[in-house]
């Protein structure tokens, strides 16, 4: 079945350093979404990418969707302690496009 793999599972960075998490799908995705979950909280939607090669920015966050629409990345420039949390990518399930399959997430720790 379809899998959405995400790496790394954990990342510790010093405040001010950059951070990147990668998402890879075994199948082509029509779109990909990114979510952030703060410790003790629930996932909150960040963005959706639809077009091949698309790049979107939200302040210090840059999201990319690969040309083949099978991979995506989230890059954070100059991390801050407020960036702490787990970042998930999610894509439509190949068996039923209505469903959304999540990656296993990358847990980011930012050391002050």
């Amino acid at each position: 079945g379809q899998q959405v793999m995400q790496i790394p599972q954990y990342q510790h960075v010093q405040e001010g350093e950059d951070f990147t998490t990668y998402c890879n799908s075994s199948t082509t995705l029509s779109n990909i979404q990114w979510y952030k979950q703060r410790p003790g909280g629930h996932p909150v939607f960040l963005i959706q990418l639809v077009k091949s090669g698309e790049v979107k920015k939200q302040k210090r966050l840059t999201f990319q969707f690969g040309e083949a629409k099978k991979n995506s990345s989230l890059h954070i420039t100059a991390t801050q302690t407020t960036d702490v949390g787990t970042y998930f990518c999610a894509g439509p399930y190949s068996g039923s496009a209505r469903q959304l399959t999540f990656g296993s997430g990358t847990q980011l720790t930012v050391l002050p």
């Binding site: 629930h42 999610a90 439509p92 209505r98 469903q99 999540f102 997430g105």
Partner: protein
């Protein structure tokens, strides 16, 4: 404000008990989801509903059933709880169609003893 409300934040049940987890959304959304979240495994879809009385199995439906009698309410049922169902359960909803953001509830942490 968008709101997805899960009935219980914390539950403790015994093996073999029947467990109901309730989720209500106030956004008139067609699509509702039940995920479970375990460390290192991310969010795994249990069941999905795209309309009243309509449902689809997700990745891990075994041991669970669902009910969607009204548009705003999606219930997850554990017919006979087992210890391996100890987990965080997250409900989410989404508007009409195949894309768009999911709005999550606060989660229900279930412990089965």
């Amino acid at each position: 404000d968008v709101k997805v409300t899960q009935s219980s934040r914390y539950l403790v049940k015994r093996t073999g008990e029947k467990v109901f987890l309730e989720c209500v959304q106030d956004m008139d959304h067609e699509n509702m989801f039940w995920y479970r979240q375990d460390p290192g495994l991310g969010l795994r879809l249990i069941y999905f509903s795209y309309d009243v009385k309509m449902k689809e199995k997700g990745d891990i439906p075994e041991g669970y059933s669902v009910s969607r009698e009204k548009k705003e309410r999606f219930s997850l049922i554990l017919e006979s709880a087992s210890t391996n169902q100890t987990s965080m359960y997250l409900c989410a909803s989404r508007g009409q169609g195949y894309t768009g953001e999911l709005f999550f509830g606060e989660g229900s942490r279930l412990t089965v003893l």
